[in-house]
Amino acid sequence: MAKLKSLMNVFRQESIWISIISIFLGLLIGAIVMLVGGYEPVLAYQSMIEKIVGNPYDIGETIRSIMPLILTGLAVAVAFRGGMFNIGVEGQIVMGSIGALFVGYFLDLPPVLHAIVAIVVGAIFGGLWGMLVAWLKTSRGINEVVTCIMLNWSALYISHIVVRMFMMEEGTARSKLIQDSASIEIPFLIQWFDGARIHWGFIITMLLLVGYSFYMNKTKWGYELRAVGSSKHAAHYAGISVNKTIHRTFFISGMMGGLVGTFEILGVFKYLAIAPTTSGLGFDGIAVALLGMNTAIGILLAAALFGALMYGSQGMSFGADVPGEVIRMVVSIIIFFAAAPGMLRVLFQLRRSTRRKEVSARGNDSVSH
């Protein structure tokens, strides 16, 4: 009962309404753009919705597109709560897929165990790649944004080298397939969803979403993470090891990223392609975390919105002949409007201290600070 009440409270917050209004504004401006270009916005949105929920296969694929966004949203949110910006999820995703691919391709293990080992190794690969950022930050004082961006490219090129050296599929630009024993597909669900690629990563992601909320709010490690995130000085005074907490935060954040790569390998593609750039999922995670205000429920909703939009936009070109460029524009506008309040919030957080008097429940006389 109390749970439900607190859940409903989320919708009473003004910020929720800001988000909802922003999304509608985005759809509206998107429609105007389409009108100007001579397309039919109503038909386009109709086709988009049809693409999202029209048949079991599309429903399944929509869910599949949402999942990695939840994970990258969590990855970014963990770091945010710890007072840091993980813009390196891209690289952590790649490292996770390398780990999973190695285990999936080279090890011979019985079915379930094989998948578990691959998932664990993939997560650890991502986590360690994230921790490298934290280590450079604490030991050398390098800003995490700089190292994150450099390590994204490093990870990508490492993946090229690894695939080329150890498991190149002749005549293609991708690796060999993982063994079937490492697959994490859920056959009966795939059947239900008419062949949509649903896998165990979905269940794990949902558990991680709950786990995130629990870890942040109910455990002493979450307490430390939030303390460091909100005031390093106070955390240091309280005897919390700030550096250790930063390492831990980035390890967890990187693990979430690593799992995205892992699930894509084990559950969807079964191979790693030699791609010219990274997937972009990690960057989308930034918007998801901002829009979701770093809360579990918010991230779930934001990822659902983004995932559905991205997948559904494919329908717009089939159904309403809207060219890809316009679709991308419309989707970007919606995302921009949806994420703008979150970004503004983050920017204005710095100014919040000056607004202290207004939020005061006492109408206080503040004293010298």
Partner: protein, 512 residues
């Protein structure tokens, strides 16, 4: 009122409610032309809320504001400025890289064609400065001038806009003693020139010195308005807190026991490699309060951080009950029995975005009973916070509100409760009463003395000489990273201590 006083500002039944609290309850107040009216009240009494309504930042729920005999609606600060009201906030609102003149004219620049005519503005500022004795240099860059001077720029800003009613929110909180003296003289001068001034403060000494009348507010209501000339500080303090407060600290003579803390030849460098402590040695016995007197920046912060493990030391030793604790981690030091009320409660003492509950367990959250197997025990944590709120009279709407939303005095009480209830052997109190009102100050002092009487060693670091002289049993004077003198409150006075703090007088000679 009678005709002999011109009333420039009158508040009639002003009421302001916030969720869960009536911040101002039907307040009546009159400001006469050319007077200095002090607005006295404890932290959270509603003084700032009231002035924010006068300045148009808040809208009253009930009541009227009259200016020069006319009712006005004060909906925005610009309306207030138009009506001749100016406010100097506690936190200055200046653009650091701009010059004084640029800051002052910001938003109302005189233009000469398309260009801004700074020359004539600077001239006018110079005139105003001469007239009111502000001593402002119009072309100085704000970044490079002292805090006291920045405040004068703020004053100039409102004079330049033609204010006749000047409101000051805790103007002396950020100033050095020297700057305070100068500011008070300026305020007197302004009043003599016909400006009417309201000064929000809880420093009785300043009220006695400059105010004509004093309106006392307690819990959102006007308690009394007194003619200062006929009032005593004790009477003011009593009106403010609603009970008798002794402005002097009552305490028995100390009965020092065994040597608890021994500091030997401590050397500390700051991050830029500068020597901040250069061979500091002293000890503290159980059951005594040792005060460290000194001007800010002579190594006090470094001493505290070294003692608490927050900063590494170069050489020397720190022993608690004979056990070496130099360069141990802050957590280990705290577990050995060192409590620390930090100098900056916002930076170190609290996580402002944590709740009162969470802040109550900032140093104990990781242990049974606050957490078990890594899981926070919320009910135990809340009980701890409730216990603190109860026994330290922390005024808060609840345990789950953010520490940020409490007034300074109540924030400080959370810290004091937490540090004292952890039952330390050695308690460090750094500027423990900074920014607190009389009632809260006396509460803090009593707590420190109670700790002493319970056989703890207490180190009191303060820039307020009154506090050191009242509370400490033994005084060490720190200057330039060294202890330059030792004395006792009975053997010295403010003047002598002041000279020692400036490094001009040895401790031995002050014993005579």
């Amino acid at each position: 009122m009678t005709a002999q006083h011109d009333i420039v500002l009158e508040l009639k039944g002003l009421t302001k409610r916030f969720p869960g609290i009536v911040a101002n309850d039907s307040i009546d107040l009159q400001l006469r032309k050319g007077e200095i009216l002090a607005l006295l009240g404890e932290n959270g009494a509603g003084k700032s809320t009231l002035m924010n309504m006068v300045f148009g930042l808040y809208q009253p729920d009930e009541g009227e504001i009259w200016i020069n005999g006319q009712p006005v609606s004060m909906d925005t600060p610009s309306k207030a400025i138009e009506l001749g009201i100016g406010m100097v906030h506690q936190h200055f609102k200046l653009v650091p890289p701009f010059t004084v003149t640029e800051n002052i004219v910001l938003g109302m620049e005189t233009k000469k064609g398309l260009a801004i005519d700074l020359k004539s503005s600077a001239q006018r500022i110079q005139e105003l400065s001469d007239r009111y004795n502000l001593n402002i240099k119009p072309h100085a860059v704000v970044d490079t001038i002292s805090v006291g001077m920045q405040q004068r720029v703020e004053i100039m800003k409102i004079l330049y806009r033609g204010a006749d009613i000047l409101i000051f929110d805790e103007p002396t909180a950020v100033l050095t003693p020297q700057e305070i003296t100068e500011l008070l003289a300026i305020l007197k001068g302004l009043a003599a020139e016909g400006k009417s001034i309201i000064i929000i403060t809880h420093k009785l000494k300043e009220i006695m010195e400059i105010a004509d009348r004093c309106t006392v507010i307690r819990r959102g209501k006007v308690i009394d308005t007194l003619e200062v000339a006929a009032a005593s500080p004790e009477a003011l303090a009593e009106r403010m807190v609603g009970r008798n407060v002794s402005l002097h600290v009552d305490k028995e003579a100390a009965q020092p026991g065994e040597r608890l803390l021994e500091v030997k030849d401590l050397h500390v460098k700051d991050s830029s490699g500068q020597n901040m402590l250069r061979g500091v040695s002293f000890d503290i016995r159980a059951g005594e309060i040792v005060g460290i007197a000194g001007v800010d920046g002579n190594g006090q912060s470094e001493l505290i951080e070294a003692l608490t493990g927050m900063m590494k030391i170069e050489s020397g030793s720190i022993r608690l009950e004979g056990k070496e604790m130099a360069n141990l981690s802050p957590r280990t030091v705290s577990e050995l029995g060192v409590g620390h009320i930090p100098q900056d409660r916002h930076k170190h003492g609290l996580v402002l975005d944590f709740t009162v509950s969470e802040n109550s367990v900032l140093k104990s959250y990781y242990n049974n009973p606050m957490s078990k197997l890594g899981i926070l025990q919320e009910s135990n944590i809340r009980k701890e916070a409730e216990r603190f709120i109860e026994s330290y009279d922390i005024r808060t709407p609840g345990t789950e509100v953010l520490a940020r939303s409490l007034s300074g005095g109540n924030q400080q009480k959370i810290i004091i409760a937490r540090e004292i209830e952890a039952n330390p052997k050695f308690l460090i109190a750094a500027q423990p009463t900074r920014g607190l009102d009389v009632g809260a100050i006396s509460f803090v002092h009593k707590q420190l003395i109670a700790e002493r009487d319970a056989g703890k060693a207490v180190l009191l670091v303060s820039f307020e000489l009154d506090e050191i002289l009242d509370v400490a049993d033994r005084i060490l004077v720190i200057f330039n990273g060294q202890i330059v003198g030792e004395t006792t409150p009975s053997a010295t006075n403010e003047q002598k201590l002041g000279l020692m703090m400036a490094g001009k007088l040895g401790g031995e000679s002050s014993n005579g």
